[in-house]
Structures are given as structure tokens and as C-alpha cells.
Symmetry: C2
Subunit: 462 residues, 2 copies
């Protein structure tokens, strides 16, 4: 049974739909009525009409087929609703409601009852989750007002998050940075659908090029082995970037109270990620910044980086950051330096980093990129361009985008956010070149590409 | 001879003033004519009037006293101009012009000639520098168009930077984040005034509460010892946060071509900073984020952090980040947890991190802060408040600002940038509570406070 009806349903019922502003049922109803590209049926025993749509008293009254039920009613009502959904032939349910095993034994009993009633004929996400965000079809159960949480545009990154609030915060962050996230899922107490199954589904979805995972810990015996085997299979075809929180004793205590999971030994997780070929991030924003590069850039053949800069100091810092993540900045041979001398000013440094100094112009960047990037002396480029200098314009973006023809990864760093810098960065992102405002992150993005190049190489050999 | 005439001149001459747009002389002339709170005299042999001001043919023609000359003429003209400045009784000069020791032996000879002509009667900053930014009196020799580089508002942080471009980029970054930087200096080839002397001056300036340094390497024999002794003296009264770039072999090569300095062994620098009581940062934005806390927060007595959160996941991540920098998140005793239970919902976690969950309200935060922060169980607080939830408003800022009365450091983290989040953060910053959009940085800021508390304690005992 695939997760198609969960992620890409043609029709949805909202059980517990309401027009009471600020409530979970209201936010989800509004999201779907506004954006969902499919049929919507509202269910609530007490209401006649909401937002112009008829309200049915139960799911069984809905006169058409329903792929997915979204349930927001109190925990004690959920088992009966699940039975009704099964009778109706609904294929999947997202149980948003809390009040299950996370609150104690009575809730755990309800969870077992829900599973029993589903009879394996209805797949369940949750309970106690924020559910699914699908930027393509407008399925959006994230029950946070769009004024408080912006939604990302469709894009090749998918997120699987153990925490609903963490998923909501990072989607908002990504939206405001223009990072495209096509699909995001939070699975809550995962009584049925778990991260391994979501990974499998995203691995087969051609719209997904990179999967980001936020994990705090596992809950059930045997989950770890299953997850590792799944990851290992998937990283052969798609990169997975994972951020594991809860790595110390005190944060493990916090994990337990947050998701009732066991944080476990961090060393065990690290070993698992390494064996599975997953790329580890130290925080979630880094994970998305790495994913941005993995989704758009070709893989490098080696670890040698060409650094071009308009600021000698930023060049120095770039080298520190690149070497800290295992990349190298090789000195260019004398003959290449002489080729560069023909166009660059005499005081420009030509050994790598190439420091164009305050006299930097778009044309100088173009000359350096076209002279050095195609050679076998470097495998990728970090381009530092701050748009503070008089000789530089957003037009530089075109030269950089043209250089994609060399088939080598490029990332661009600039801390400035003046008008020209904004235009420059927007052009680059649109043209498929990721930009960063921290050298540390730019270096980590290139390192993720290098790591994944080695993972795919060893996969190809095995 | 103090550096008063360099940093706080009452009158300034611009030698090489011009109305040729885009040139260095033009940008500096416009900056000063627009903003400088003192007398300005323009000097250029060829011009009659610029921006409504009379142009004198030489500094000696200026009919009034001049504290500071800003020199932007070609290198070979500078020695003669220095002689004229000495004759005129000018006290200090900023030589912006390049073409000195950084280009070779002829330039080095010019530098020696400049020093000889100064006769010790005129203090020199530079040559080959971007000079001084003083947000208080409008002295601003940063020759970058204000549309390309925003200037920070006055504030208690001072910057001493070995790189001009790095200083310009970070001032722009700080300005756009609302970080106040009252004074910034780049010293270029430092033939006279060096970082140690600038440190001494800022240590005595009551407007400066924290000094940030960007260093790539030292140039002259004996400089290291002198700098360390100066730092050691200053850290008794004011915190110094230092970021040293050029820590690997390849970046050392880049340092040499950038500032003609020797990057030296990183271990040696680290030892020096530790002995001198300076706080080390891993990059320049971290340095300013740490400085923001050092400039506004009291010092903690110990390393125990209270974490309050509206997202369990963010709480878990906070603990990871705090423990990574040597801080602790102690479990609260049972009786305190019971006190909290009286107001918090039953499913809120009360052991620390205090997880208010999606039901979080301003009042819950207030209750937790006022119940726990004044006790001797914690030394400081990290407050996570994302403004995504319906129960939270920017009014929470007032409760946090009120809690400053407990005399314990507080920092606030939120990744969201919706309208409420912006208002919330602006209120906090104005009320003297620093805010961060990365947990890593928030943790480092608290760690900087703890580090400086130990430095001042050991200073007090010695």
C-alpha cells in the first residue's frame, strides 16, 4: 500500500472542520479551501456550511470517494471515526489530534484501539502531528496562520521531521529565503507510518532530489536497523542530509519529554549515518543550505577548490573554512598564474585564492573562471562577490551561470544585502547556483557535494 | 600623544578632495560634507569649489587650525604632503592611498620617507587603509558608496580590523541588523599607529564597552609580546573578542599575499589570546553577536542556563548547543517543578528545558521567568520564542525586559521573521536584551559572558 493517498490525494475530508478562528480545525480548513487542488469535504456533526462549503455530519454521509481523512477531533472520538473511515473506503488518515501515548497509559490504549480499528486497510500518519505540507497540490495541514508562518515555494527538497514545531519554523525560514521545499512531513507518535517508509516514498518521487531529516531519537525495538537499511538503499540514488538533535545527556532528557523517544548514544547514530551514506549536518539551517547545493550542483571529482575573491580577508577566511571541512585550496601552477596576469591588475594575488582586490570587475571574475575552472587543477569553485565595489554589478551572475557548462559545482558567498547584492543573489539562485551569507555554510555545502560524490562512487563500485 | 585628533578631530582636511564621482576622494569628501560634525577643509591644487566648499591649493593655505589630514593622493606625493602637514601643525594623518610597502621596495622606501618627514610630530594611520568610521561625529573615510554599504548606528562596540574590505563588509552587515558600532578602524600597513595603541585608546573611551578585533597576522618583531601585554591590561576593564583568520598553511599563504603579515602558528595565537584574557570567536559575525551580549548583559556567577521554549525540538537543540560550549542545563528540583505546575498546562515539560508546547502564552513565559530566574538554581536564561503560536504576542518582550531586574544575563532566540517576530525582537534589542536567529550563536553569546565572568574574577584576584 503506497503513501500516494497520504501525500498526493485527489480528495480530502476534514473531520472536525470548523469556522472558529484560531482553532486547529479552522486553520486547516482555510488552508485547504484556499489552496488544495482536489475535492474537499468538510465533516462536523454540528454545522451546516463553512466557507461556502456544505458540512456533512459524518464521513459516511459524503456522497463521493475520499482518499484522505484529516482528523482534528478530540482523542477519545478518534477510534470510532477511524472505523467510519474504513467503512467509507478512505485509504489514509492524518490524525492531527494530541492526547494519545504522549499523555500516558489511557492515551496509549486509544492508540492501540485506533490501530485495531484501521484493520490494515487505512494507513495512519500521527497521531499528535502537524502532518503534511505539499507545495505542489496545496495539501497543507500545518495549522499555523500564514501570517505567522510563510510557506515555501515548490522545490526539489523534501523534509521528514520528528518535531512539528521544528518543521513549521524551518519551513517559514526556508520560505523567506526562497528555498524551495516541495514536500514536508511530521509523523508525530508514528503508530503506523514511520520515517523509513516516508524515505522510501520520497526516494521514488521524481520531484524530490534531496531528502532532509530532523531526528531526535527512535522509539521502537528494531527501528534503527530498518532505518539504516532503508537509508543505505536510498543514498545510492538520492542524497539524505540528516540532523540529529539530542546528543548529550541533558538533551536526551529533553528528547524523552518531547517525543517520548530515546535519544540513544550519539556515537551509535553517527556510525549508523556513516554506514548508511547519509550526510550529517550540525543544525537544520545548515542541512537545508547543504541540500540547496546537492539539489542543484553536479558532483565534484575531487576536493580541490578554486577561490575567487574581491576581499583578501574573505579569501583568507574561506581557506580556513574549506580546510576545516576537509577540502583543499591548491596553489595554482606558475604558468596558470601567468595566464591570469595578462588580464588581472599587477597587485591581484594569482596563486589561489585569486584576490582581485578593490579593483575587481565582473570581467576579471569571468576571465578567472573561464581560465581556471575548466582545467584539471580544480574540482569546484567558491566565488566571493560582495557587491560593495564600484566595478562589480549583478551582471556577474550571468557569467557565473554560463560557467555551469564546465560541469563543476559552484557556490557564491556574499555577506552584503544592498540592492545590487539582492539582485545578484536572486539571479544566481534562479540560474541554479546556490548563494550563502556565511563562509562556514558555503564551505559545508561544497563539502556535502564532495561527501556525496564519494558515497555514490563507493555505491557504484559495490 | 593621544589618538584624539585621529578619532575625534574638531577639524579635518581632505587632501586630494575631488568631485569625480566613483573615486576614493569623492566618496570621502561626500561622506564628510554630509555628516562630519566639525570643520572641513578641502585641498586640491587644481580645483576652485567642490560641493559648495572652497578648495585650497595646499594644506598650508588653509587659514584655520587642522587636527587631522586625510590623504588620498598618489603615493609618490605623500612625503611632501606630510612635510606640509607638519609645518601647518596638523596632529594626525590618515593615509588612504596605496602603493607603499605592499607593492615592493620602492613603496617601502616611500614609507620610510613618510615616517622621517613626520618627525614624530604627526601621528599616522596607514598607509593603504580604509581608515576610520566614527558614528558619533560623522568622521567616515570608508570610501564605499552608502547605497552599497550601510553605516551602523552609534553603539557600544568598537572594531579594530586588519582588513579594510572585511571591516566594510561587516559594518554593512551590522548596520542592517541594527547592531550599534560606534567606532571602527582599519590600520593598513601600520607604519606608526598599530592595533595595540588603538586598543589602549578604546579601553579609555567610555563610549566603548566591548572591543572586537579582526586579525590575520603580525608583521614586526616584538609586536606579539607588546600586543599580549596590552590585551592583558585591557581585559581587566573591558572584554576583547578576537577573530584570527589564516589558521592553516594554505590560508597563511593567502594572508602573506593579502596583508604582507605572517599568519604564524595558530596554536601560538590561541595561547596568547588565552593568556591575555581575550575571548576567541570562530568568525566575525559570531564575534559581533558575542559582543552584543557582552555590551548589554550582566555577568553570570556560574554556567547554569535556564531554557524556556515553545518548541520541544528547539529546546533539545538548545541543550546540545549550550553543552557544546561548556554551559549546563540543570534539571530543576521537584519543588520548583511543582510551583510551575500551578500555572503551566499538565503536558508542559517542567524539568529544564521548560517546554511550554504549542499552548505557550506570554503569561506562561512570565511565570516561568519570575519563578526560576531569581533563584540560585540558574545563572542565566536562554529564551526561545518563535512567535508562530496563537498564544504569543510581541508584548512578551516587556516581561523579559522587566526581568532584567534579577541581574542575570538573558538572550532570546527565534528563527521566525514574521511581523510579530520583528516587532518582538526590535523591542527586546531596544530594551537591552540581545536576540539571535541561530541557537549556536545564542549559546556562544552566553558562553562569552561566562568566559568573561571568569576572566574578570581571576583579574580581581590577581
Amino acid at each position: 500500500m503506497s503513501l500516494d493517498e497520504l501525500i498526493n490525494p485527489r480528495s480530502v475530508a476534514i473531520i472536525g472542520a470548523t469556522d472558529r478562528e484560531g482553532s486547529v480545525g479552522f486553520e486547516i480548513t482555510r488552508n485547504l479551501v484556499t489552496k488544495f487542488k482536489g475535492n474537499i469535504y468538510l465533516v462536523n456533526p454540528s454545522k451546516g456550511e463553512i466557507m461556502g462549503l456544505k458540512v456533512y455530519r459524518s464521513i459516511e454521509e459524503v456522497p463521493h470517494g475520499v482518499d484522505l481523512s484529516i482528523i482534528v477531533t478530540p482523542a477519545h472520538t478518534v477510534p470510532e471515526i477511524i472505523s467510519q473511515c474504513v467503512n467509507k473506503g478512505v485509504k489514509a488518515a492524518i490524525i492531527i489530534s494530541g492526547g494519545f501515548s504522549e499523555v500516558g497509559e489511557e492515551g496509549a490504549r486509544l492508540e492501540r484501539e485506533v490501530l485495531r480499528r484501521a484493520q490494515g486497510r487505512l494507513r495512519i500518519l500521527g497521531p499528535n502531528c502537524i502532518g503534511v505540507y505539499n507545495a505542489y497540490n496545496g495539501l497543507d495541514t500545518f495549522f499555523i496562520n500564514p501570517q505567522r508562518m510563510e510557506r515555501p515555494k515548490p522545490g526539489p527538497i523534501a523534509l521528514i521531521s520528528q518535531s512539528g514545531a521544528v518543521a513549521a519554523a524551518i519551513l517559514d525560514w526556508a520560505a523567506r529565503r526562497g528555498i524551495g521545499i516541495g514536500l514536508a512531513v511530521n509523523y508525530g507518535n508514528k503508530i503506523d507510518i514511520n520515517e523509513a517508509e516516508l524515505l522510501e516514498y520520497f526516494a521514488r518521487d521524481p520531484r524530490v532530489r534531496v531528502i532532509v531529516m530532523y531526528m531526535e531519537g527512535l522509539k521502537y525495538p528494531g527501528e534503527g536497523r530498518k532505518l539504516m537499511e532503508t537509508m543505505k538503499r536510498i543514498t545510492k540514488v538520492k542524497p539524505i542530509v540528516v540532523y540529529k538533535a539530542g546528543i548529550t545527556k541533558s538533551s536526551g532528557r529533553a528528547v524523552k519529554s518531547h517525543t517520548a523517544a530515546l535519544a540513544g548514544s550519539y556515537e551509535m547514530y553517527r556510525a549508523m549515518f556513516r554506514q548508511a551514506g547519509a550526510i550529517e549536518a550540525n543544525n537544520l539551517t545548515d542541512a537545508f543550505d547543504m541540500a540547496k547545493a546537492l539539489a542543484t550542483q553536479p558532483l565534484p571529482r575531487g576536493n580541490r577548490v578554486l577561490v575567487i575573491t574581491d576581499s583578501g580577508g574573505a579569501g583568507v577566511q574561506a581557506v580556513d573554512n574549506l580546510e576545516a571541512v576537509g577540502l583543499s585550496v591548491p596553489e595554482l601552477p606558475q604558468e596558470t598564474q601567468e595566464l591570469l596576469s595578462k588580464v588581472l591588475p599587477p597587485f591581484a594575488a594569482k596563486s589561489n585564492p585569486i584576490d582581485l582586490t578593490g579593483s575587481a570587475t565582473d570581467e576579471m571574475y569571468r576571465h578567472v573562471i573561464n581560465t581556471v575552472l575548466p582545467t584539471d587543477m580544480v574540482d569546484m569553485a567558491l566565488i566571493i562577490a560582495q557587491m560593495q565595489l564600484p566595478g562589480m554589478t549583478p551582471g556577474l551572475a550571468e557569467y557565473i551561470i554560463e560557467a555551469r557548462r564546465y560541469g563543476k559545482p559552484m557556490v557564491v558567498y556574499g555577506v552584503s544585502i544592498n540592492d545590487d547584492a539582492r539582485t545578484f543573489k536572486a539571479k544566481l539562485e534562479e540560474g541554479g547556483v546556490p548563494t550563502y551569507d556565511r563562509l562556514e555554510t558555503a564551505a559545508k555545502a561544497l563539502s556535502a557535494l564532495f561527501q556525496y560524490s564519494r558515497i555514490s562512487k563507493s555505491n557504484a563500485q559495490s
